[in-house]
Amino acid sequence: METGPRLLLLTALASLSLSGCAMFRGSAEERATAAEEPDPAAAEPDAAGAAPPKVIEPEVERREVKVARIDAENIELGAFYGALSIEDFGTNPVYGIRAAYHVTEDIFFEAAFGRSKAGKTSFETIGGDVELLTDDERRFTYYNLSLGYNILPGEVYLGRGLAMNGALYVLGGIGSTKFAGDQRFSVNFGAGYRVLPTDWLAIHIDVQDIVFQSDLLGKDKLTNNMMATLGATVFF
């Protein structure tokens, strides 16, 4: 009969592979019980009266599973361009770069650096030849380090066939601003909207206020410098 030996071989194979599994994954108790059990492959040949079977060495090697390095894309780098209203000095173009690190799905850190150039105060415009600042002093340079929070994550729909991921975020931070020959501690806060046409590209619309103390026009006051920018960033 063909089925007798085949059954025997299968039992032997099963017991071998099962004990292998128990050695690898099972607890110590499981292993102990597996060892105590009488080996069916050794017991059955006598009962069947057949020749002692050869020990089958499985030729399939255990597949070694290595965990691949998973690329983390939490960094966002990009640039922006927009308008900055420098208090008393008019609204002027502003441009800069920004880098962000997304720590959780809600919270990110952002570092931004921007430049602009102040125009003339109304006093200078009316006064004719009056120049309050030199050309170099009109340069407005700032950087800030902010903490951001994504408040309204969700999809936006453009027309019937296009959906993009987006999120409204609020952010606030500290930094410094160099303007009119002096560097000052500044605080920034604002909100923005980030929309992602693809998973790695984000378009930002961002409105922020850069606040710092200034005594440029005689009186020490807190100046508000509102900024609206459009930017693009890439995720790494």
Partner: protein, 262 residues
């Protein structure tokens, strides 16, 4: 008047084109990096009844696909707590790390990865933070990046800017930090290092020239774990500035801020 308007316009335009160029280059690099080594993706199997795939990496994005039990997925990349995965039918989506913990490798063992929890606070490789405080009377803005050798020792780079009434300046420092009890939620540390200070006195004062000197510091502080990957860090540093004058200068620095590990 007319001339000034034209200059203010022409400068940002040429800058904006260069900015655009940089951006495009960045985009190209990101795209190229994304296309490379697709053969080394991590393969996982669904062990739960199903795995939900979201449209975006956040809870606000809808679940549009599910992957049934037993099916394989490839992990493309990770963003915060979300994994971008692709099924063998070519469908891509985002799965949360909580769900990914229930998936298994080809040999049946569970898929494990860095979760960003309390254990990570004790044991991690990198940390970064932003702090604000006082630098000998001046307002201080400070950032740092640290690389851990083990649970207790790390090397740290600090870059700061201080803005005072008398002077402004920058400091850059490198030092060692020793966390005495990394297992505690409120864990103390001591630090020691050296650096440089670039001091720029304000023009109204008598000392007009800029100064750059070497410094050394010793300090101590506390770290308090908040949750996820965040902790608060408060610190005091005593600096010795090795000036070119006869006496050295002492500077006290106090700062407090938010940091995270990764």
């Amino acid at each position: 008047m007319v001339r000034s308007t034209s200059t203010t316009r022409s400068i940002p335009l040429s800058r904006s084109t260069s900015v655009l160029f940089v951006l495009l280059a960045l985009a190209f690099w990101a795209g190229a990096a994304g296309a490379a080594d697709t053969d080394k993706l991590q393969q996982l199997f669904i062990a739960e009844p199903y795995l939900e795939l979201h449209e975006g990496p956040g809870r606000g994005y809808a679940v549009t696909q599910v992957v049934p039990r037993g099916e394989a997925i490839d992990v493309l990349y990770r963003r915060t707590e979300w994994f971008r995965v692709r099924t063998h039918r070519g469908i891509e989506g985002w799965a949360h790390q909580r769900e990914m913990l229930k998936t298994v490798l080809a040999d049946g063992s569970p898929f494990t990865f860095d979760l960003g929890n309390r254990e990570g606070f004790t044991r991690h490789r990198w940390e970064m933070g932003v702090l604000a405080g006082d630098y000998s009377g001046a307002t201080l803005i400070s950032t740092y990046l640290s690389r851990s050798f083990n649970e207790q020792m790390a090397v740290e780079l600090t870059g700061s800017q201080f803005l005072g009434n008398a002077s402004n300046g920058y400091t850059a420092e490198i030092g060692l930090i020793h966390v005495t009890r990394p297992d505690l939620r409120l864990s103390p540390f001591v630090t020691l290092g050296t650096g440089m200070i670039w001091l720029k006195p304000k023009s109204t004062l008598v000392l007009p020239e800029d100064r750059d000197d070497q410094t050394a510091y010793a300090g101590m502080g506390l770290r308090y774990y908040l949750g996820r990957r965040f902790f608060v860090r408060g610190e005091y540093r005593y600096h010795m500035v090795f000036t070119s004058r006869n006496e050295n200068e002492e500077i006290n620095e106090w700062k407090l801020g938010l940091a995270f590990f990764f």
